[in-house]
Symmetry: T
Subunit: 155 residues, 12 copies
């Protein structure tokens, strides 16, 4: 049944993204997180993909959520790790431990900002990376993730 | 007229991309460049966007083509600078000189490869960067570029 | 009314500062955290400044508290980020996102200690930095913060 | 009485170790965390040593648990800090603040992995370090810790 | 007698501080050096502390003045080493040779400026460091210095 | 005859300099390349010096032109290598191979720009370097080159 | 027969370990090398494991002994490479050439000492590493080595 | 037939090698490129190996020629990349894309020259490297290449 | 009056330049400082520009002279900072504090000398930099400075 | 006499090369050292060149053998320094002290291996370097050495 | 005459050495500068060598004194540059400009102190360097200097 | 008795020093090792100091000799570690283990040579260091060592 093969995707937002709209609007635009999630949810639904959403400011809770995703049989993760992009080996290890494929996205062009934002602890184990397009980065990332999972899971 | 405000986009491919399909298929997939260009051309046409395409192995000819794009009134560039990503100040200067907005794309996940591929001479002046999704990187990049140009040009 | 324009200041203490008095007394002196807070509270009250206090060992909870301060209309933060001084981009992003002005203080002279304590992720976005005077660092930081806020807020 | 001088040891596991058995079995073997703890508990009991166990994915909760160990009069800690090995100044400060002696263990040979795993924020303040022997690393670490504490505490 | 135990403090200003008011007002505010000295002198007098003041643009003359302070029995130094902060081993050696305790202050937030201003040759041998509060940095530094000297000298 | 000993100077312009006037006018001023060449030609003619001019965006063509200059008996080269300043070992080798003396000039003050523009692959083998005076850099460079060649060639 | 499958282990000691007891007792304890070897020999014998012992101050002789171990069919090596830990590619190559599995041990906590002792030329090709427990490091290393060899050789 | 299995080898010379004999004779000797090619052609012919030769100063044209070699079924390349040795990722990618085996040669001992000549972008993907023997480097490289190809192609 | 708007230029020479003619003649030529100053004075006078000259070996006296120039209303400075080029933040700060525009010149080609001479503390705040032409560097620098000041001051 | 002018060449093999055939056959091939020496001896004899051979695992004995070669009037050395390539200043000094010309060879392509094998302590004082061709590296090195010595000694 | 050939030696002491006896006695011993000079003067006189002495805390005055030494025909300088050892290019240039041979001495073992004291700006142009023997360093340096000058000047 | 308190000094020479007189005479002068030893022996005898001498090219044998010196009750060592200066942790450990005080000497000015000769593994644990005076370095080192030992041993 289609139901059996429906994809499950988890969208994860790292620290401070709950403040979107407040936080440095010149960098991230005016959209808030709910609006972004709604749009993603709708796009996914149109492709018969189930979505769940999670934002947290605590690194370890992001780790916990990845573990739960593994228990829940999530097929792929769309993640904007925000500040933890550059420092979190724990999130990297959670993704390695669960072997869930993921796409890394960033709202801002991280290469235009402080040099400590130029390196990611996750990029080399991601399917791919998208940065700089504001909330469109999420939209593109979702497309890429669905496309990849459909090509490698369907049967 | 709608015609007057139609967007013109140049798609540029850097060195060795003419060899796509031959070159390291485990990294880049089996698609050749013509197939990629055809798909992009069709997608753009559907959005009433004009496209032109250019591939060259000589750094200076890529510079020349960017200059010509400026003369032709090109609105945006979708570029996969390939090997020149990491070394070409000349291409950077051409993009700075002409102030044409551009999106940088890569077929492979450059962060999984040799360390000299982790740095780009162009990313900090790009609208955004997409890497790792094979030929889908181009598709996503085109979307992002069109969306951006429509939001900032139309009137 | 004076009430309307009364300043609200949040005093934040990073990880392990709940152990003050136990922890390395040769570095930090014998005062415990309650004593420090009481003195600060009294000094602030004398200047008709409201204070609230927060200590936590979890990086993300410090982020959460900064967000709440923004909701509460806090005017300034006096923060000793302790261990997170040197690694937390998340706290930096919380302070950037909320644009609350803050002063960074340290009990010990961080420049006399391990080299990884010589760099701060927060100093370049702080009003100023004070280090090395034991609990007096807090007293001086509070003075500086109140003075700055009074000069830039009053009326 | 023997009871009075019985040693109390806390075994701590850092982030993602709750996923043992799932996570990269080629690196860590197939044992899960409960099995490891049971074996350690039994070995300790044979030496009349009391043990308690703690695993958490949140850095700050590991800090909290070390503080509690200090309150509880724990004599020594056996810790596998996992991902936080390489980044946590907060855990380092908790161990410095409480002055509880500890042994650092790793399941995998960290020197065979990514370069960011070659440096530990804890090793220079540990009694000693053991890495690379799978769950045997814990067994050896417990032995070393008991031996050390017995030589320095008894009577 | 109170006279016998009165503290003597030397306030030292490094190169270009004679130009205060002229020099980069966006960084340092509009106060000139005489005004700063007057305020410090008054504050000190209120605490029965004697002050002397010295500004010079020649590194070696600052060294000479520190030597003289040793001959004169100065108890503490409040120093803004300005440009020599980052390069002067000679001033460091003068302070080491005389063992006079000192507080290091900076008008501007040095961490927001050129990277060569992020390191100080003096901080690790100072009592403490204060930076970023304009002329208030001096006021706070004087307080801290007097407090420290009173606690360690009196009787 | 004076004719026999007339000096021949080649003026070379690197990539993107054909776009002068368009490119970043805040950095380079409004003069275009023809105007610059005309002025140089005239100045040289006044000193009975023959000039030829060359601009190209392809690194290898700049190499070729230096080889041809050697065949033509050119006495000196005035070169603005632009982007290739910082990366071209090939141009360096061409200048070493032909042993033609040259002066290196830059329109902008390269030390105010991105750090990768602070190093030149050519400066240590040049007669001298002039940077930051807009088109005047060329005028000064021509003077210096003529003066040097006249002092070392005449008779 | 049990005899046929008895394990043979070589214990190797690098330079200056013949001076144990003399050398920096605060770092290494008072045990001399003979006492350490005797204890190891006894432990091994209890597990029906044959042992041989070798100490030398010449790097090349340690290489020679590893070669001989290969000829003799040694199953595993317990090595404290001492000073050569940090510099000897020759010993690394000998262990690679013979493919004899080995455990690396250190008496002192090398991470507390000079920075040049923090890197080992051998760790990434060892089964595992143990450091900081004085002569107990050897005891633990022997256990780990025997356990590993028994699990991978027996039958 | 022998003809069918005859090897085809392409000899490539990078930038400035057309100036051989002129360029720094103390480094490269007095031989010109034609003489080198003639000798190589003759040696190859004696071994029934077909040779073609190519020199160019434009990086991208060297890339093009490698692509053509792939189309022509060239078995191996003998290349002196000269200045592009140290900077060309494009040539590296061309060799990776076509998977043609190659030997890297240098006339001079690059380790005696400027430090930027000590690193090659090609060596790690070459069969082997020969440097320092003047034109003899080519002779040895050709031998090594023929020998390798004969051992791996014949039949 | 023309007199009112006459430009005033200060020519500054750093340490050891009083020894010109003695000092390393192979680097600097045989001209002494008086001859250089005379020529500059004459050139300036021809352009109705007033000049003053200053040489000192003490860093702080160069700082003092810049301050005085500010009091005197000097329009521009032509400076050869010599050894202080590479280390003096104090001179940099004096130039920043007074905002007097300046040109930096060097007799020798600093890029051919010890690596510590390749970096200047002043270049990024200079109008431009000229190096390598012996005393001609001063002549060119004076031209450039006068031209710049005339274009930006006159009227 | 021909005898008088016959060349004497010493072939030196560094540590672990006595294990050839055992050691990492995927890197070095299956040839053992005797076979390599025999082939070299025969090739040399055909060219009327005398050869001697030496392998040792002790750095200092390789130094001794170079000294002896000087006493014996050896004309050239063909050396594979193996592990000592990257660390031995003593062998470098022996070759400098005796001024015997030498060729450096490596069996494997050192640039494909660990980064510490990319640098040689000898290359910049060698005639030339050959790496990556298995035992053929020796054959080519012998040719190059004989050719060089014949061109510079004969008569 | 003996008089004609008598050597003249200048003994120079850098910053803070006037404080000898006060300054860090554990590093430098208890001797004051006059005692050191007296002993040197006597030793020199015994060898018929004239001596003069100079101490200053200003870098530029040390430069001036070296210039004067050149005018006075001083044959050699014995210098303890103290803090300026590590930073003064100006003193280096003075010694280069005058070509007076000199010996560099240090009271303390600079290699045991802060890492910024491990590098000297003068050592590579000195005859030799002596460090660590307290005032004996001067005695040895004087001997070495006299011996050298006698061997190279006499007659 | 004088005999009882006579000092015993060991003079050690590192690798290649047996070749003195042959080796790079421009760096080391023409003296051979026997002449140096004879002079030292005579000087020591005049001061009633016993001397022994040792030269070896094998690092481990130098270690052995230091151990033996400890057994023999040697009071001090005068050592020129030559090439091992820069790499030998083993010799450092031998000197630490035996706690014999030593002086480090070098014939040449190591700071004028290759950069890898600028760092010593021994200097920070030596009494002092002398470099650059040819064989006189030994003479001065012996003086310093005897003086130091007499001051700290006598009685």
């Amino acid at each position: 049944m289609a139901r059996d093969i429906a994809l499950n995707i988890l969208v994860m937002h790292g620290p401070n993204l709950n403040m979107l709209g407040v936080r440095e609007p010149n960098l991230y635009g005016l959209l808030n997180l709910d609006a972004i999630n709604s749009k993603l949810q709708k796009t996914a639904a149109d492709a018969s993909v189930n979505t769940s959403f999670f934002q947290h400011n605590v690194e370890g809770e992001l780790v916990n959520r990845i573990h739960q995703a593994y228990q829940d049989g999530v097929d792929g993760i769309l993640i904007n790790p925000a500040a933890y992009t550059h420092t979190s080996i724990a999130i990297r290890d959670a993704l390695l431990a669960t072997s869930i494929e993921f796409v890394e996205v960033h709202l801002s062009n991280v290469y235009q900002r402080e040099s400590f934002r130029h390196h990611s602890m996750l990029s080399d184990i991601a399917l791919g990376v998208i940065a700089g397009f504001g909330s469109t980065s999420y939209d593109l990332g979702l497309q890429a993730l669905i496309l990849h999972l459909q090509q490698h899971k369907k049967t």
